[in-house]
Symmetry: C2
Subunit: 459 residues, 2 copies
């Protein structure tokens, strides 16, 4: 039986195995979910062993374990691909907006709804099942494969980088393959050659040493909530231009060719607005929506809090306020430098009467892959085989900081073979993943291994 037939015949089981994984609430941001993280890691270790990988192991870190397995029997003249993914997920809140519980995978239409369905359990599981399909039908893989799934991607991959450094030899490879991005649109496969970086900050504003009555004290002391809003409002101007001095200094401008290519992408702004329920887009003046969301740096408040949030009215003058604020970065912005510029500027514009603490949460560099890279070409062929059309090449607005780390530590480029859709609602309620694309993803991954074995390496 061919591996493609095997995939068809076993697809019901593949789905049910994925659903088992989706039932585990492996939320890395919440420490009380640590046991679930462990359960997810052990489940994947069992999978790695079952499909026939070698040297399967759970590598402990000071944080969450890293699941590893390999197949090196294709021999030293064949390329080695390191397949990377993550089994941790974002917190599911706000829970009341989920139509079905986030950790009870539910099929509606052709989609499965669950936290992590697309990001990244469903997408990374395609490779597990592609490897199984090769090994169970051909008894071999056409290239060498190292499969690594981590459990801290959603909180900044703090322990993966030391792990890469420590196991540089074990992880040596010619490229990294990652499925943690989106296709340009349904049935429009895409290869992402650029990703944005990230600098994630927290700002705490302290006013008085305790909450006060807004009648007795209001008007006479600085209110940390008003002060925080003033700071945040000062970070961008009305044209969406970030006001932090030096913020744009290292930005590599889009080339005229890139802008032309971006303008030709099949993007319908009205449909975009309709899908989001908005009547107007908003972003940095002088750039198109596609450029704004993929190739330009940003600054967004991810969360804000302070004072009374409950039912009814409370006339409190709160003692403190806080916000989570993150910036998406582009080549060649340095997350550490940007974090410092942000921190300096926030302190500079903070109004008098409050004290401000700025913390750097985590960050990562932006990344770009050469369009002629043979791994990228093999991926394009695989997409063509399974989706019946050549993929688009695009830059994407998200951040996979680890891509920059792979380049730095292992010296290799990453192939971003996304099977998700922008409408998957990742990081949001009602996250979903197309089961059709789960099916095609497994096949595309399997085809990629075949094409990689025969595509000439770059000189």
């Amino acid at each position: 039986m061919s591996y493609l037939n095997y995939i068809d015949e076993n697809f019901e089981r593949f789905k049910s195995e994925l659903f088992d994984l989706l039932r585990i609430p492996s939320i890395s941001a919440v420490s009380s979910n640590r046991p679930d993280i462990k359960r997810a890691a052990h489940y994947l270790k069992g999978q790695f062993e079952h499909i026939g990988l070698n040297n399967v192991d759970l590598h402990d870190t000071p944080g969450n374990p890293i699941v590893y397995g390999e197949y090196l029997e294709a021999g030293p003249d064949k390329p080695t691909v390191l397949i990377y993914g993550h089994y941790d997920v974002q917190p599911p809140e706000p829970l009341d907006l989920w139509q079905t519980p986030p950790f009870e995978p539910t099929v509606r239409g052709e989609d499965v709804y669950a936290r992590g369905a697309s990001d990244d359990k469903g997408q990374s599981f395609t490779h597990v099942k592609a490897i199984e399909s090769w090994l169970k039908t051909e008894g071999r893989l056409p290239v060498n494969v190292k499969l690594i799934l981590e459990g801290e991607e959603e909180i900044g991959s703090a322990h993966l980088v030391p792990f890469l450094r420590k196991h540089k030899e074990m992880l040596a490879c010619d490229m990294v393959l990652i499925s943690d991005t989106s296709m340009f649109d349904k049935n429009v496969p895409s290869l992402t050659y650029g990703l944005r970086g990230l600098a994630y900050m927290q700002v705490f504003v302290q006013g008085t040493n305790r909450d006060l009555h807004s009648g007795a004290y209001g008007g006479a002391v600085q209110n940390p909530l008003n002060a925080l809003c003033e700071i945040i409002a000062g970070l961008k101007n009305k044209d969406g231009v970030i006001q932090i001095p030096g913020f744009y200094d290292d930005v590599v401008d889009l080339t005229p060719e890139e802008r032309e290519a971006a303008a030709k992408l099949p993007f319908n702004e009205q449909a975009f607005k309709d899908s989001l329920g908005i009547t107007e887009v908003f972003g940095e003046k002088g750039y198109t929506t596609i450029e704004r969301k993929s190739s330009r740096p940003t600054l967004d408040v991810n969360g804000i809090w302070g004072g009374y949030q409950g039912e009814g009215a409370k006339t409190v003058l709160p003692a403190k306020a806080g916000a989570k604020i993150s910036m998406r970065l582009v080549p060649d912005q340095d997350p550490k430098k940007i974090a410092q510029l942000f921190s300096d500027y926030v302190k500079k514009i903070a109004p008098s009467g409050v004290s401000v603490i700025v913390e750097e949460h985590h960050g990562g560099h932006a990344a770009m892959t050469d369009l002629n890279f043979y791994g990228l070409q093999a991926a394009a062929k695989a997409f063509h085989d399974i989706y019946g059309k050549a993929p688009l090449f695009a830059r994407e607005g998200g951040s996979i900081p680890i891509v920059a780390d792979f380049r730095k530590i292992l010296g290799v480029d990453s192939i971003l073979m996304g099977f998700g859709l922008n409408s998957d609602a990742i990081h949001a309620p009602n996250e979903k993943f197309s089961l059709q694309d789960f099916h095609r993803g497994i096949k595309t991954s399997a085809k990629f291994l075949e094409h990689l074995a025969t595509t000439p390496k770059n000189e």
Copy 2:
């Protein structure tokens, strides 16, 4: 036995009865505490009956019940005083900042710590015990008294106003007596002759129809959290001047005499800053701290929320944000007009790409009492008897909207005989009330009744 001796001899029991009342979490802002509201009302009804008031009743309203009792046997030639207070309390959150649980009254030093200790259970209970002390020793009261305690003061007294209108005859009186304000300082008794009004608003900002991934969409759509901060930052300028057009139009400026009197009040700005743990005060340019917190209008954010507030980092571009914003008003600002001006301006300055809803929560007029009012003079004598010094006359920054309603509906002024302290942490964690002032408060209230019977009425 004189009523003053009775107060001394029964003070331990008075405390324990107050503590029983403080144990009831009668939070009016939270609908699930409705049964506690009823328990508190019934407890007070029992007290009214026990001390010997007549026509004691719980008056049902569409909201929380109003407890009423009266003594009218002093005769029609004696003044009638309506004593008003409230038995509902603010929500106790944030709970983790309480040293002892908010509804377990705990004595530390000379203070009792509990939600409602000062605002307003402890203060209003002084009158209950003063009446008891007169009736149990003299068998009579020297003036006519109507005692009314409501359960919705902390949420805007929505059902008290219709009650006043409906029972205008039953509640007819020469003045209202309220203990729900603070003394100027420990051992510095004060009579508040001015109160600020209030307009309490909620602002909701909606961006896209769902939470988005800040990588995939960031930069291309308006972020409602950034937008909300921009709106709030636009409400005041760097000098603390409110920017809403027309906001100051009806403000009655402080007279030179008032400013002079305010400047002579025993106020130490360094001690004020030290007690709040701040190094700088902040407020409307051109006014002193005392003026800012008592006689000038304000605008404060009381609460703000949106996006991810949990542990760790979530790269979400939230769909919506909200804030509670209140303005303290002074004569002759009209809360309805101010609410409309606020709403219009917020909508006007809202950035594009979001929709904004502004809701009016509740409001009330500012209030001023004539300094020569005979009720105020009787109160001053009572303070002098018990505290050994004449009280200061001051304006206070808080709002008791019902004071304006008493003037409008019953045609009478209110005497604000505060026994609290600004350091009582009302509306905040670790609210407290001095047991010494509880004791002196009962005596002062009893003395007030005596002086009121003999102080010549104003012509």
